[in-house]
């Protein structure tokens, strides 16, 4: 396909969420995976080199066009944009879920030392975390984990890209 790169560009541009290789393969049936990867790589490089506001990034298991971060002051001047804000309390709860997942509410509360019902609910509503199942212990408490949306919002390819957590030194053991 001559214009594979352009087709990939169009598909990624039109999609609302990051487009993974699997989806591209599903649409471009006759094209080999490695050719698609090559097209994506070329696009990433092209937008990188070009002196524009856009870049193609790999997040949440797919590719997405975004503005480069140094343009945010201008974008935020758009009156119809309400910047995303996450409170410190919510961010702390989110951090515990992200690093300790799958994690129970009681465990989060033990770490933070406060009731986390409110922040947990807020994060569920924003689809940054989700209930991923139940723990196989008496009472079968719900366990929580992060979502794909979490990866998308925090510009992470996958969970292994989370910044490392400071080593917790074991005390008196």
């Amino acid at each position: 396909m001559d214009n594979l790169k352009a087709i990939v560009e169009g598909i990624v541009f039109v999609s609302e969420s990051p487009v993974g290789l699997k989806k591209l393969k599903g649409i471009l049936k006759d094209v080999e995976g490695k050719e698609i990867i090559k097209a994506l790589d070329d696009l990433v490089e092209e937008y990188d080199k070009r002196n524009g506001a856009l870049c193609l990034v790999e997040v949440a298991g797919g590719f997405q066009f975004r503005t480069k971060d140094n343009f945010s002051p201008w974008i935020r001047k758009l009156t119809d944009i309400k910047p995303v804000a996450i409170s410190q309390a919510a961010m702390e709860t989110l951090a515990v879920v992200a690093y300790k997942q799958p994690v129970m509410k009681a465990e989060i509360e033990k770490v933070r030392g406060v009731d986390v019902s409110g922040t947990l609910k807020g994060l569920l509503k924003r689809n940054l975390i989700r209930m991923i199942g139940r723990k196989d212990v008496p009472g079968r408490p719900i366990i929580y984990g992060t979502t794909k949306k979490f990866l998308e919002v925090f510009s992470l390819k996958d969970l292994s890209e989370l910044p490392t957590l400071r080593e917790l030194k074991e005390l008196g053991e």
Partner: protein, 235 residues
């Protein structure tokens, strides 16, 4: 002492303790409990005098601190050499909390979509209206939807939904699925292969429930003979 700090900037008792430790340049592995307890209680008093809601967690921590302090004052017995330092658990908690507090700050420095970077057509309304695609539906929305409805109907009709009930539904669905395919099943077909006691009980309850609902029928050709189950209504 000047309390220039707004108390709601603390994310809880652990956060306040960390602040006090930092302010006094204290070694977290060797916390002078008496000093810290005194300062902690002063903060609580200030909160109260400002008519701020002091969350229960702050008071629990206050009593923990006092408890540790009194333990440290007790004379050490000879046979307690194994006993751990009463401050140890607190130190462990503080260190863990500190690590996650740092992690939260790190997360905040990432390129946040909608704050630092933007995707095409990213506008208020387009994203926040909860328009989630079918692929990533969250159970939370499902449960919320149900809760809203339950609050609308009269309280007498609210049934307590529990895990057991849902386990039962799961088994009922499985039985119906098999019956729709295989037309007839014996008790043994359903119960025979099961080794999990709980599952056997649920399967049996599910059969009874489906019979009660008049969705399936059970026949037995002779006493103690094989029990066969059929759909009550053939489609």
């Amino acid at each position: 002492m000047g309390y220039e700090i707004k108390l709601d900037i603390f994310q809880g008792p652990l956060d306040l303790l960390l602040y006090l430790i930092k302010k006094n340049e204290i070694d977290i592995y060797n916390i002078p409990i008496a000093v810290i307890t005194e300062q902690y209680l002063e903060y609580i008093d200030v909160m109260k005098s400002l008519n701020l809601d002091v969350a229960g967690e702050y008071l629990v921590m206050a009593s923990t601190l006092i408890h540790i302090k009194s333990k440290l004052l007790l004379p050490v017995h000879d046979d307690t050499e194994d006993e751990e330092d009463p401050r140890e658990e607190l130190t462990r908690q503080l260190l863990e909390y500190q690590a996650f507090k740092e992690a939260a700050l790190n997360l905040d420095t990432m390129n946040l979509l909608g704050r630092d970077v933007f995707k095409g057509g990213y506008l208020v309304g387009s994203e926040t209206d909860g328009e989630h695609s079918l692929e990533e539906l969250s159970i939370f929305e499902l449960v919320e939807a149900f809760k809203v409805m339950v609050s609308r109907i009269n309280p007498g009709e609210i049934m307590e939904i529990d895990v057991e009930r849902m386990s039962l539904s799961e088994r009922m669905n499985e039985i119906m699925e098999r019956l729709n395919k295989e037309k007839a099943l014996t008790f043994n077909d359903l119960l025979g292969g099961l080794s999990d006691r709980i599952k056997i009980i649920y399967t049996f309850l599910a059969i009874l429930e489906l019979m009660k609902l008049r969705v399936i029928k059970a026949y037995q050709s002779k006493p103690f003979g094989t029990i066969r189950i059929f759909l009550a209504v053939e489609d």
